[in-house]
Symmetry: C2
Amino acid sequence: MFDALHYLVAQFVPLSDREKSVLESAFVFKQVPRKFPLVKHGQIANELYFINKGMLRLFYENDGDEITAYLFRENLFASSYDSFLRQTPSIQSLETLEDSDLLVITQPKMNELYEVLPKFNILTRKIAEQRFINAQQILSSFLLDSPEERYAKFVEQNGDLLLRVPHHIIASYLGMTPVSMSRIRNRLAQQKR
Amino acid sequence: MFDALHYLVAQFVPLSDREKSVLESAFVFKQVPRKFPLVKHGQIANELYFINKGMLRLFYENDGDEITAYLFRENLFASSYDSFLRQTPSIQSLETLEDSDLLVITQPKMNELYEVLPKFNILTRKIAEQRFINAQQILSSFLLDSPEERYAKFVEQNGDLLLRVPHHIIASYLGMTPVSMSRIRNRLAQQKR
DNA sequence: TCCTTCCATTAACAATTGTAAAGAAATGAG
DNA sequence: CTCATTTCTTTACAATTGTTAATGGAAGGA
């Protein structure tokens, strides 16, 4: 149950067996169905999720329709970070896209871990740094690439998601409408022929 | 010379007079002219800058033309963060937009500070967190707002920069061409009448 | 001060995107 | 298995953006 978590943590900071069990005890296993709301916008996010199985989507609610901010797959930590970090009402919502197996840690448990296991500071800092670098990469794609190039890069890096995630959710993640994405798909398919 | 720096640091973590002087001694004052290159893309960024006076721009070089990634004004830390944090070749360039007064700290000096002044960890973590939240805000503007709304928000928050920074540099920061930004300015000006 | 370079706007045209609506196909819940 | 819902694509039209080029004006360096 904790294999994937330990594997990820080990990439950032090595832990002894005893430290590993301390880490494990801070998490609670939770199985949630598809379309399950984990954070609603306006609420304060007080849980951080490690995804053992399934998929989560972080999204904005913009007068009626939903705009994807990020897609989290297996073996990633997911949360409405700004809300979780600063304990402020979230401007985003977090929901499962599939039936999911999650390891859940609460904000109070996090603070306990910081005291008992100082190395945990390094882990969260590195995760935050990675999130920043990641956000910057996505941002650069909006500045440097055309919608067509942005879609092409997405397929390169996350092609499998086209079969797992509804296209209109991917389209809003790429900053375009489903109609426009369908046209781009058509254009690229014809270029290949 | 260090007033603004101390003021910013105090917002994150309180320092004693002795700690302040330790902090000061890690920085070197540097006066650089307009259009001075601080980091060239491909190089590893080994300096972090606090801006006492002037203005810096972080930008991508995309076959010939330059796309603004961020504009740094007075009283901010500036750097090609991903390169500085991970000591990898920078994909961005950093340059002054005006004659600038900078406080410079090198990567080795930073590491010394971490050891002598443990509180420094908190400071850099919070700065990194702020940068992430900031990047996410900009990204959300690309997902949620039209180019026209994006320009309007920029004017609200950074209107003074319209008089300090060439418009084509702002346009690329907003993900549009100077021509399109000029049209948007025209449209918004007519709505006011 | 003069001269060169840079800069902002405008125009015209092509290309792309958004919007609204409709239909076909796939999916999920009971 | 069946039916209602969701999802993807296509079409037609309006609106916006990108591109290229030209102009007048501002700014910077010697």
